[in-house]
Symmetry: C2
Subunit: 103 residues, 2 copies
């Protein structure tokens, strides 16, 4: 089984300079989790590049739902949440089981 | 450059049997695009497995923004949209440039 945890965010700021600064700080903080949280098999974090869609996306692959729980409760992940929550206005998450898919 | 087009949906139905039927029909219709739309480098479509998060996710990798446009306007993709729109209540999309990321 592999669980793919997918999160999308909308940035709260409206001016371009602040949005870019917030986007970069979230991307670097989340990308750094790769070396800190052992449950992370693969992580991709990026800024949205299409006008009108949302602004940030995170894709994290973990072994199973228990590993997803461990990732979300890991101190390093918990430490990033205040930053993320301080700069976003909306969040959506979907978790899919890659082993259940015809890909 | 590789653009990763990420879409999350919330299903509209509330009863489990209908939700499961709608989820499966969307997943098979979108997964079938792989053989129909040449711009698709990779496609993953799955049902959400965590209570409280959203219900369906699509991840499509294409070469660039022009290929994303071609994918979205391809007749086979257009043909799936009425089905998807008929069973979802909400949609969020983020498009990230994988080549711009430290992964």
């Amino acid at each position: 089984m592999t669980i793919r945890h997918i999160v999308a965010w909308k940035l709260a700021a409206s001016d371009e300079a602040t949005r870019s600064e917030h986007s970069e700080s979230v991307i670097s903080a989340l990308t750094a989790l790769k070396g800190l949280v052992p449950e992370i098999q693969h992580i991709t974090v990026g800024a949205g590049v299409v006008e009108g869609n949302w602004d940030l996306a995170l894709i994290v692959d973990v072994a199973d739902l228990a590993a997803l729980d461990a990732y979300q409760n890991h101190p390093a992940h918990q430490a990033v949440l205040p930053l993320v929550r301080s700069v976003v206005s909306d969040r959506v998450a979907v978790d899919i089981d890659l082993s259940a898919l015809a890909r």
